[in-house]
């Protein structure tokens, strides 16, 4: 298990390969990457705040829970904080398992929990000001399926 809460940008390819190399006996590897989107072309940056200490513990607990629920070989979570530019990766989750169903389910579970239970707060900074991203009720609702 690796949890990295970092300001530095990460490389999806490098991280995917390193994770895959670390799980030679897994048949199935799933990755999820979240990217700073600029739909309207008005976003100049995203600012992410987090709760140092709690963040790492909360994510580690989520991974522990995933390992208990599914047959996983390993899991990885990288989540950035600080100032991110449009197009940059925000975070990634990777799961490895003997079978694809477990790898997919654990990755979705980790995503749903990261969305609503890991202490991160996003602020979108545009040309005409900044606004905290509101939590979606659909994200909260997604937790009920687990």
């Amino acid at each position: 298990m690796r949890v990295s809460v970092q300001t530095a940008v990460f490389d999806l390819g490098t991280e995917s390969n390193a994770f895959a190399a670390s799980v030679p006996t897994a048949g199935a590897i799933v990755t999820f990457t979240g990217v700073v989107r600029d739909n309207a072309g008005t976003l100049s940056a995203m600012e992410i705040e987090h709760y140092p200490g709690m963040t790492e513990k909360a994510i580690a607990a989520m991974i522990e829970q995933a390992i208990t629920r599914w047959t996983l070989t390993d899991a990885l979570v990288i989540h950035r904080y600080g100032r991110l530019a449009a197009g940059e990766p925000i975070m990634m989750v990777a799961t490895a398992a003997p079978h694809r169903g477990d790898a997919f389910a654990a990755a979705e579970f980790l995503m749903d929990y990261l969305k609503s239970r890991a202490p991160f707060w996003k602020k979108e900074i545009g040309a005409d000001g900044a606004a905290w991203v509101a939590a979606l009720s659909s994200d909260e609702a997604a937790l009920t399926r687990w």
Partner: protein, 82 residues
């Protein structure tokens, strides 16, 4: 003495990221009442508890939880990670 941390717009409304308080509050709700009575900026931050979350010693908790033995209380809006 207890450390009280604020994040995101709670931090912005209160105007500081953390403070150390001497309080006799028995529950989170008591602490909020005490802070709200202090200054408008606290009243503003705690006006709508449904839009707030609380963590005690870095574990998500609830407003009726007792503060006994707790060293760190954090207030913040619903999380938006991922």
């Amino acid at each position: 003495m207890i450390d009280v941390l604020y994040f995101a717009w709670v931090r912005e409304r209160i105007g500081l990221p953390r403070e150390r308080l001497d309080t006799a509050a028995r529950t989170v709700r008591d602490l909020i009442a005490e802070l709200t009575a202090r200054e408008d900026r606290y009243a503003l931050a705690f006006a709508d508890l449904t839009s707030l979350r609380v963590a005690l010693d870095q574990e998500l908790s609830n407003f009726d939880a007792p503060l006994q033995g707790i060293r760190e209380v954090a207030f913040f809006p619903p999380m938006t990670g991922g």
